[in-house]
């Protein structure tokens, strides 16, 4: 039995905000990430999909230790990262890397592309001589589809798609085993999105990475994921393998997300809207609904949903869902 390289258990990150004045302090708690658990195997891609306030970015940062979680464990190759001291964690960063959402903002505007990619090398291998660093940097640039002769150019001289490639090269230069991509294509044009997604797929196959691909809608994620986790307000609603999630989602929120993806087909687009799949707006993270967090927007809710919080439980096909009505709902997507 293969062992997972990453196992996240009950991860919780809480942000506090203090409002009010001297006489009447109000502390409000926002559980941005609320008890998330999942496993990831080498060579596997987990797609993580959530809208705003879902906590997906916070989740990414908590896994990498950029934010300290309040509760829970992050087991990387059997070691609990949350318990490591700063220096040990810093050493682990060789194996855990991240690609950010905004390709331009994640690059220091005053450093050349070559320096940006080489910085992790300077950091962990200070004794590497300049020629070796140069060679490796150019190799990385070629691997991500950039011309090595651009090595002395600055971020503002590249397009955003190319900046994202620089970011990917930087993330991979240390040969990490886990790559978290935090909405890597959201800020890119549609035609460039496809290029970067294909690039990540190729790189993953070539390097055997474990990949977590975070996105705000289900469409892009499908092409690269093996399994998909759907998050709503910090909680996992469904974790299913790709084949079943898109054909037969188990959770009403997943269903709503699928139906929300715009189809480039006028006839189908018009039909998809006729059913009522979602009501209202997302509640404020500080005022969570009681019971199931999704219940006030769910077209399938029953009395029980207002009181009991559904736990994430396993269904027969091996997929997980957090819904009281998972057994009796049939949300199969009809195909042409």
């Amino acid at each position: 039995m293969k062992k997972p390289v990453l196992r996240v258990q009950d991860l919780t990150v809480t942000f506090n905000s203090v409002t009010g004045n001297v006489f009447h302090r109000q502390e409000r708690r926002n559980r941005a990430v609320d008890g998330i658990s999942f496993e990831l195997f080498a060579g596997e891609t987990l797609g993580v999909v959530g809208e705003s306030a879902s906590g997906k970015s916070t989740l990414a940062r908590a896994i990498l230790g950029l934010i300290k979680p309040n509760r829970g464990r992050v087991m990387w190759l059997g070691e609990n990262l949350t318990e490591l001291d700063e220096e040990s964690m810093r050493q682990r960063r060789k194996e855990l890397q991240i690609v950010f959402q905004d390709p331009v903002a994640s690059l220091d505007p005053r450093m050349t592309a070559g320096d940006i990619i080489a910085e992790p090398l300077w950091n962990f291998y200070p004794n590497m001589d300049r020629l070796q660093v140069d060679e490796r940097t150019r190799g990385m640039m070629k691997m991500v589809g950039l011309l090595p002769n651009q090595i002395n150019r600055y971020p503002h001289e590249f397009s955003s798609g190319q900046c994202q490639r620089i970011g990917i090269a930087r993330a991979l230069v240390l040969n990490p085993r886990l790559l978290i991509c935090d909405e890597p294509v959201s800020a890119l044009d549609v035609s460039i999105q496809a290029q970067v997604v294909n690039l990540l797929k190729d790189l993953q196959k070539k390097l055997g990475l474990a990949l977590i691909f975070i996105a705000h809608d289900l469409s892009v994620v499908r092409h690269i994921s093996d399994r998909v986790m759907v998050i709503y307000m910090g909680q996992a609603m469904e974790v299913s393998c790709k084949e079943s999630l898109y054909r037969k989602p188990l959770h009403p929120y997943t269903n709503a997300l699928i139906k929300s993806v715009p189809l480039p087909d006028p006839k189908l687009a018009a039909e998809a809207r006729r059913e009522n799949w979602l009501t209202g707006d997302m509640p404020s993270p500080f005022d969570r609904p009681r019971g199931c967090t999704f219940h006030d927007r769910c077209p399938y809710r029953v009395k029980r949903c207002e009181a009991d919080v559904p736990a994430l439980r396993k269904m027969e096909e091996g997929d997980w869902v957090a819904c009281h009505r998972a057994e009796d709902l049939d949300l199969s997507i009809e195909e042409e």
Binding site: E51, S52, S159, S160, G161, Q162, D189, V190, S191, I192, Q193, A194, Q195, V197, N198, H216, D217, L218, S219, V220, R222, H223, Y246, R247, A256, L257, I258, K259, S260, V261, P262, L263, P264, D265, P266, L268, A269, A270, R273, L278, G280, D281, M282, I333, E335, E336
Partner: protein, 336 residues
């Protein structure tokens, strides 16, 4: 008479690196009650075109050409005249509603200001009309919420308020520049549905500017595809989505991740990057990325038109089309 008729529009910007030709030789017209979608990636000139028509170009921008709105020439119109039209006859909403709303004024004040300025309404009358508009865009509890401040609304609701503000004076034309790009996908779906209903109910014309072809599938009557400052294809929604002529449109459609076709995992990508507007290639601007390019593409391609309103700027001739604009060096012949 066409509501809006644009002929020969050219927009240029003076930058330290040279003259950027953002829009070249643009022609289109819009009928009353029609919904036109202008689709293009970054650098296509789609936003700059509307800015030029509305007199909102940046200081280093210059525009030439003609844009007649209800017979009146908008290009070169004095600011005072333009202000009369902007807001009352033509309304614009932009991408990020948070930056379009004044954070220091409550919604009521901002909406009432528009009505009193443009329509000369009394305060009580204006308030009633504003509440009615908020109800039309489905803001819950409009009567109370109108007194709230923008930050108390979610992103989706803010955008709905922007739409409501745009509709206050019952304009003949609503221009929406990437209205849903900054919003969650479920909210995006709701907003698009709303815009479709509103445009069907009133006889308002709609121009939607976006980089996401799929988003306009349910709203648009006609679609205009732009690339590197030129229109490369126009047609009805059915024509563009089901039988696109231009290779760029075809590539764009193929790059959109679709959830209704689950058979393949591969994502089609258009290779290469959009051209640098400072150094546009000779001949067809798309040829360096075009899978169907040939030697003929080194000349400026002709514009074909069909009887049912289709047009395409390409060496490839659509069925039943006649040449509207000659290619460079070729005589203007009627070709069958």
């Amino acid at each position: 008479m066409a509501l809006l008729d644009v002929r020969g529009l050219e927009v240029e910007f003076d930058t330290p690196e040279g003259v950027v030709r953002a829009v070249t030789g643009l022609n289109f017209s819009l009928e009353p009650g029609e919904a036109l979608a202008i689709v293009g990636e970054s650098g296509s000139g789609k936003s700059q075109m509307m800015m030029a028509i509305m007199g909102l170009l940046a200081e280093n921008g210059r525009a030439r050409g003609s844009a007649r709105f209800q017979g009146e020439e908008l290009m070169g119109m004095k600011a005072a005249e333009l202000n009369r039209i902007r807001g009352s006859k033509i309304a614009m909403i932009f991408q990020d509603p948070m930056t379009s709303l004044n954070p220091y004024l409550n919604i009521e004040t901002q909406m009432v200001e528009v009505l009193r300025h443009h329509q000369g309404m009394k305060r009580s009358e204006a308030r009633a009309h504003a509440v009615e508009m908020l109800n039309a865009v489905r803001i819950p509890d409009a009567e109370e919420r109108i007194r709230q401040y923008p930050h108390e609304y979610s992103g989706g609701m803010q955008q709905r308020v922007m739409i409501a503000m745009g509709l206050l004076c019952e304009p003949d034309l609503l221009i929406a520049d990437e209205p849903t790009t900054a919003l969650d996908v479920t909210v995006q779906a709701q907003i698009m549905q709303l815009m479709r209903e509103l445009s069907e109910k009133t006889r308002m014309s709609l121009i939607m500017i976006t980089h996401d072809l799929a988003v306009v599938a349910e709203v648009a009557d006609r679609i205009m595809v732009m690339y590197a400052g030129e229109v490369v294809e126009t047609g009805t929604a059915d024509q563009i989505f089901y039988a696109p002529c231009h290779p760029y449109t075809q590539g764009l459609l193929a790059s959109v991740p679709r959830l209704d076709r689950l058979d393949t995992d591969d994502l089609h990508a258009i290779p290469g990057n959009p051209p640098n507007l400072l150094e546009l290639p000779d001949g067809c601007r798309f040829r360096e990325r075009c899978s169907q390019a040939s030697a003929a593409c080194l000349e400026r391609p002709p514009v074909w038109e069909t009887e049912d309103g289709r047009s395409s700027r390409c060496v490839l001739r659509p069925e039943g089309a006649v040449m509207r604009e000659k290619a460079a060096g070729a005589a203007a012949e009627e070709a069958e």
